[in-house]
């Protein structure tokens, strides 16, 4: 694709990266667009694997990390994830990032040629998984991981092996049934054609009888085995006193098999084996396709889960207070025990509950509490796992790990809650009425015709049960859902199951977490009072800092000049010399200690704070000259998305853990009434609000944080947005690759469009059943008509599903 684009514009073709074909930035004297591509190309060429460039279909910039993966060799990790083989080799599975095409597969599978000791690497492209086996004496898992990293596929431990094994068993069982059904339908069709030809051309009684007996010998064992999934769900539904579409299906299939066999033995009457076999086969195909799509969506979601950090930097030996001296070693998270000292670098998620041992920094606790402003921490402060270190490295003494952390306890409560009550699906509701109508009609038909002859009554009643077997009804939903799921996944909307689509299609209350969905999730300067020129001075002073406030100020303005003599006081502000002037930027009380203020400035500070913004004072040469208001700005598309959601019939509410004033500011900016904005909500408050709203109708919870996860599980459907915490992804039914609320509106619209398609399909199939049923009741049905009508109705439904407007 990139190659084609490059060919269109000669300017680009002149200098495109040897590895990824993207244009090489002007001024970069290299054949590569970036250092990452250069490293990867070097690694590939050094191993003589140039064939990669001939095999590949698509190219993208490579990225690698400098990580040494030593934690993979830690005994704690090996115990959990490495299996020993009886051939003396060790086996492990890794998730690899960016596995896309044949070239990627080839490159990864060529590892044994590059690394002595690696016995075999097998890639599963669909699951982004590589199974590696190696000789532990000759090489190590860390070395293999480093190799994958160097060639551009960053490895992660594969944590879903048990789930995979379970799914594989299910998949294989269904595939075997599909194969048996396929073979049955093929052979029954051939036998059927002979019988139908005999109807017109004449056929001796002995031959007809022989063909009928052979048909029975194929149909009864073949279909009896292939249709077991339907029988099983129908039985389960009966036991639970619930209605399920498989019930009328099973009745139709069983009636067909029993009545057909009876007719074969009696030597008179119709057999419907070929139509039945076609029906079972089509239903199994639909089921298999749906299963595959669902697997794909959940694999993608699981890959995201695996990407969350699973290692910690442990500091061993004598612990000094000086952060710079100790060199931490990487260990898997499983190896950390309470009392260990852990280094948390800037931008990393804190892996344990603990107490700050050394260092001062700012912590983004948004994922846990929903609070958008970073919290400043100093030695002695308590930290929770799952929060993000944003400003400076910290050493943390672990007090609780794994399931005992606050996050861990929250997860346990979510697991208890997320056993969602199964919704009554539209098709099942219809199937319920269908069973009643068809069986009473069959009884009436039997009684009516029995007045003339009991045999005729049984014949017509059975024909009714068989031809009204709701094949198209059963295909209608899975096909529409599969088309929708596939198209949604291409848009970056991962829907974990068909149920979620139906839950999203009925409008109700939609709770939105403010941070990350309605707002950008990052502080920015939204208002400025006083000297506009001071912005450049503030940016200069803050240029070297990593604090979110500093980043916001730097994004707001170009720095005036390089700053000198910078002193940062964490939690208070920064002091620097810019262009010969003393510049002070920070929290107003701290700046006010060493700079003069005026009543006007105090007024501004109070005004900004009242509006839910964070006031930052800027002083120059001992006088406060300006006040900046920092806040998390509303996303540009949020307004339009909320209008779209309202049009679809949703009542949108804001439910956030952030400060009440901040939430109200966002609500006001988006036109959400104050009464519908709830701030300072704890995770428990959110659950309460969701449960209360469920009494009034369907509830969808949109969020990204650990604090939202419980509410998501309690809601009828949960939507997690990009960048969401691991638990939020797990609790959600839908995962959006983009964090914007616009996609939420698109998802809701797509779900509604899917349901419209399903309804249309159901109308089609019911119409077919009406016609076939009427024919059967009047005794006019003929196996040939049944054989024509049944596939025709399925084809109509298929065409209608493909035409669906959902997620276009």
């Amino acid at each position: 694709m990139n190659a084609a684009r490059a060919a269109d514009s000669p300017a680009v073709a002149e200098a495109s990266c040897v590895h990824c074909s993207l244009p090489v930035p002007a001024g970069r004297r290299s054949a590569f667009c970036c250092a990452g591509c250069e490293v990867v190309h070097g690694a590939i060429a050094a191993h003589g694997l140039d064939q990669f460039y001939r095999l590949r279909e698509a190219s993208a910039p490579a990225h690698t990390t400098e990580h040494d993966y030593r934690e993979l060799d830690d005994p704690a990790f090996q115990r959990l994830h490495v299996r020993g083989g009886n051939d003396g080799r060790a086996h492990a599975s890794l998730y690899l990032e960016d596995l896309r095409c044949a070239a990627c597969v080839w490159l990864v599978e060529s590892a044994p040629r590059c690394l002595p000791g690696v016995a075999e690497v097998r890639v599963d492209l669909g699951r982004s998984r590589a199974d590696v086996s190696w000789d532990p004496a000759a090489t190590s898992l860390a070395a293999i991981a480093r190799h994958f990293d160097r060639i551009g596929h960053i490895p992660y431990p594969y944590r879903a092996l048990d789930r995979d094994a379970l799914r594989r068993r299910e998949d294989r069982a269904l595939l075997v049934k599909l194969g048996v059904a396929g073979a049955s339908v093929g052979n029954l069709m051939l036998l059927g054609i002979a019988l139908y030809a005999g109807l017109f051309g004449g056929m001796s009684w002995a031959d007809t009888s022989f063909f009928r007996w052979v048909s029975m010998c194929v149909a009864v064992p073949g279909l009896g085995f292939a249709a077991t999934p339907f029988f099983r769900t129908a039985l389960g539904a009966l036991r639970a006193r619930r209605l399920h579409l498989d019930l009328p299906l099973s009745i139709g299939i069983l009636a067909g098999l029993v009545w057909g066999s009876a007719n074969v033995i009696r030597g008179v009457g119709e057999i419907y084996f070929d139509s039945l076999a076609m029906l079972v086969f089509l239903l199994l195909v639909a089921r298999w396709i749906v299963l595959r799509h669902q697997r794909r969506a959940s694999t993608a979601a699981e890959l995201l889960l695996s990407l969350t950090p699973s290692r910690a930097h442990r500091i061993d030996g004598e612990h000094e207070t000086d952060v710079a001296i100790d060199v931490p070693i990487d260990v898997p998270i499983e190896a950390i025990v309470p009392g260990d000292l852990v280094r948390v670098r800037v931008g990393e998620v804190i892996p344990v509950d603990g107490v700050v041992h050394a260092g001062r920094s700012a912590i983004d606790v948004g994922l846990l509490t929903g609070e958008s402003r970073p919290v400043d921490v100093a030695p002695g402060a308590e930290l929770h796992a799952g929060t993000l270190n944003v400003a400076a490295p910290l050493d943390v003494r672990a007090t609780a790990v794994g399931e005992l952390t606050r996050v861990g306890k929250l997860v346990a409560s979510i697991e208890a809650m997320s056993a969602k009550a199964p919704i009554e699906r539209l098709v099942d509701r219809i199937a319920g009425r269908f069973v009643v109508v068809v069986s009473s009609l069959a009884a009436l038909t039997f009684v009516g015709w029995s007045l003339r002859s009991v045999a005729l009554g049984a014949e017509c009643a059975m024909a009714l049960l068989i031809v009204t077997c709701p094949c198209a009804l059963a295909l209608a939903t899975p096909l529409a859902v599969t088309v929708a799921l596939g198209r949604a996944a291409r848009r970056g909307v991962l829907i974990k199951g068909a149920d979620a689509l139906e839950r999203l299609a009925t409008p109700g209350t939609l709770f939105v977490d403010k941070t990350g969905t309605l707002t950008a999730g990052e502080l920015a300067v939204v208002s400025w009072r006083g000297d506009l020129g001071a912005a450049a001075l503030a940016a200069a002073a803050e240029a070297g800092s990593n604090h979110p406030i500093a980043r916001a100020l730097c994004a707001h303005s170009e720095p005036a000049a390089p700053a000198g003599d910078v002193r940062e006081e964490l939690g208070r502000g920064i002091r620097a010399r810019v262009n010969g002037r003393d510049v002070l930027v920070g929290a107003p009380p701290w700046v006010g200690q060493s700079a003069r203020s005026q009543p006007a400035i105090d007024g501004w500070i109070a005004e900004l704070a009242e509006r839910g913004e964070t006031p930052i004072a800027i002083a120059c040469n001992g006088v406060i000259v300006a006040v900046a208001g920092l806040a998390d700005p509303v996303r540009p598309d949020a307004q339009a998305a909320l209008a779209e959601l309202a049009r679809l019939g949703w009542h949108v509410r804001v439910l956030s853990g952030d400060d009440v004033r901040v939430v109200e500011r966002v609500g006001a900016a988006l036109g959400v009434p104050r009464a519908h904005c709830q701030g300072a909500a704890s995770p428990e408050d959110k659950v309460t609000a969701v449960v209360a709203a469920r009494a009034r109708g369907p509830v969808v919870m949109v969020g990204d944080g650990v604090n939202d996860a419980a509410a998501m599980a309690a809601a009828s459907a949960g939507i997690a947005v990009s960048g969401a915490a691991e638990i939020a992804i797990e609790a959600a039914d839908v995962y959006l690759r983009s964090p914007s609320i616009g996609e939420v509106a698109a998802t809701a619209a797509g779900a509604q469009a899917t349901l419209t398609t399903i309804r249309r399909n159901l109308r089609f199939s019911l119409a077919y059943n009406l016609v076939a049923g009427a024919l059967a009741i009047s005794g006019l049905i003929h196996p040939l008509i049944a054989a024509a009508v049944m596939p025709l109705s399925s084809l109509t439904v298929l065409a209608s599903s493909l035409r669906s407007k959902a997620f276009r």
Binding site: Q51, L55, C101, A102, V105, W106, E109, V123, D124, L125, G126, R127, R168, D171, R172, L175, V176, G179, V180, A183, G186, N187, S204, D207, F210, V214, C217, V218
Partner: protein, 51 residues
């Protein structure tokens, strides 16, 4: 037409063998991953030892 009485069971027996073969391929895991193998055929053979 009496040949049918021999041919038909024979044909079905062969079909049964094919089903058996299919079940074996599924059980032995050959159809677990249907995305990767079609790409693997694109790979050339190992280059022969140079010199």
């Amino acid at each position: 037409m009496s040949v049918l009485y021999l041919i038909l069971p024979l044909a079905l027996a062969i079909a049964g063998l094919a089903v058996g073969a299919f079940v074996w391929t599924v059980r032995s895991g050959q159809l677990d991953d249907v995305d990767t193998p079609p790409r693997r055929i694109l790979f050339d053979d190992e280059p022969r030892e140079t010199r």
